[in-house]
Subunit: 323 residues, 2 copies
């Protein structure tokens, strides 16, 4: 299977520069924030979001060189994403993210709130100074969607009134909005036909949904080692994702367990077994594959290039994680 | 002495509409956020910031009616201000603000982080949709300054390397940037001579500095009843403001007390007595009056109007609080 690093080879040098810029930017403000930044931006992150922006930039620019504004856009997406993770971890009181201690646990809530606010603020300033109102609107939509997703995720746990439509909406707010809108923003900065921007939005939206669905499948099928947290933590924490949603249709008993918030002895194990023995996981895989196909079709508008190939391979990479 | 309500009479109806809009906006998202919003926007806030925006709007519009975009700008300033207060209280672990329990103490840190993020996000979306890149830049500067102020305030406590320049810079980030930049933005939306916008920025900057200095004086001279927190809490918490800064020049002993973070019995009382018996408070009053005068001169560019009069009276009101 192709690795994320090989996948991003057309923009590998760009990504390296991006990581260095971000760490430098934050370290300059204060030693403690610097330590948090080092932790955030060097902890083996895959830089999927800025990589997509850079690939979409190069794919739409053709022979023209990558501009400083395209690079800035990629930085903005990584900053908004990181800021939302840091604040999510405060809201969720999370101690680990992908096996690495969170900022709130390693430092404290105060530093986590400060670091997140600094990243949001800096990104909104960078954004304003891209001098393009369309791009400002696209990314401010993303920031609004993140806050919406944070509220839904933080405040609507154990809500069995959940359905597929709400699940897709949540996943859009949490993951797909940033990828879709920032890919479109890259096309806007490249000044290509707006139709191409709309197709890149569709690509990012569907890739983002597939990405989130696969993540949610892995929460049931992955090992603690790979996940960096106990398998099934989403469901046990009250987050009802695609596999559980489909399993609830087959097994009303699961709904009961969720409604009583797994209060009785053995409830968590029982719930995970129901999901794993249901068709929930295979139906979720079909759903992810469906969005992968939609993402693939959206790329047809692009001229052939190594960056276009990488965007296509990325879909297979995302879907490949679930097998 | 004139009351804040009489002062704002030219925009009283506008302010009422603004408060209702803000509470409705947040309540629509989630019951718990609604309760937090009710708490935030109804707790007898004086709405000084949106009042200044509305007065600057009416003073620059002349006979033309107030537009929806001017109203939106006023809402944005109140949202950014409130968001920063809510996150500041998490960072400072504050339980009370002006005698009223903070969101983090009344609800919890999670709700406080969510409510602040929601307000920041919503304001950046409103801002983008004002469709004016100059205004987007002015207000994104404010958001960046707030984060900078939050870092300085949260992470540089008990730092006796503080001087007047740094103090003014901190006060600008914390208070004056929002008032100055948003007053200028009101002039931009009114499409008047840019020179008038620059003068309104000077007005807001100097009024904001005076406002902050007076607040810092009151922390030493006010009673617990009026302050809603014990007198001297800023200094004891490690925040070195104008009166203490001037007192340190007269009494090196104060510096020692701060450096050992008031660790010994009786240190806090000793420190407060030093400040109160020094020339620190009268020198701070002179500094506030100086910025009040600068603010007053900046208004000379405006044609006579009830709104211009209110902006002038506001300076006296702010300075009047310190006597």
């Amino acid at each position: 299977m192709i690795s994320a690093t090989t996948l991003f080879s057309p923009v590998e040098a760009d990504l390296k520069e991006l990581s260095e810029n971000l760490t430098r930017l934050i370290s300059a403000r204060h030693p403690i924030l610097g330590a948090a930044a080092e932790h955030l931006f060097s902890a083996g992150g895959k830089r999927v979001r800025p990589a997509i922006v850079l690939l979409a930039s190069r794919a739409t620019l053709g022979d023209r060189p990558l501009t400083q504004r395209h690079r800035r856009l990629a930085e903005i997406t990584e900053m908004i994403h990181t800021a939302s993770l840091v604040h999510d971890d405060v809201v969720d009181e999370a101690a680990l993210r992908r096996s690495v201690p969170t900022v709130n646990s390693l430092f404290d809530n105060r530093i986590a709130v400060l670091a997140g606010d600094f990243l949001f603020a800096q990104s909104s300033w960078y954004l304003a100074n891209l001098d393009n109102l369309t791009v400002v609107k696209l990314l401010s939509e993303v920031i609004k969607d993140f806050a919406e997703g944070e509220i839904q995720q933080g405040l609507n746990r154990f809500d069995t009134g959940m359905n597929l439509e709400i699940y897709i909406e949540k996943s859009y707010y949490k993951t797909a909005s940033l990828i879709g809108n920032s890919a479109k923003a890259a096309a806007v900065l490249s000044e290509v036909d707006p139709e191409i921007g709309d197709r890149l939005y569709d690509y990012g939206r569907n890739l983002g949904l597939a990405f989130q669905i696969v993540d949610d499948i892995l929460d049931f099928t992955g090992s603690t080692d790979v996940l960096g947290k106990p398998a099934g933590s989403d469901l046990i924490g009250g987050h009802i994702t695609a596999p559980a949603l489909f399993a609830m249709e087959e097994h009303p008993n699961l709904t009961q367990l969720i409604e009583r918030e797994f209060a009785e002895n053995g409830d968590p194990e029982k719930a995970l077994e129901i999901v794993r023995n249901s068709n929930g996981i295979s139906r979720a895989k079909e759903l992810a594959a469906h969005h992968g196909q939609l993402a693939c079709h959206s790329l047809e508008c692009l001229d052939p290039s190594p960056s276009k190939d990488a965007l296509t391979d990325l879909i297979d990479y995302v879907l490949g994680r679930m097998y």
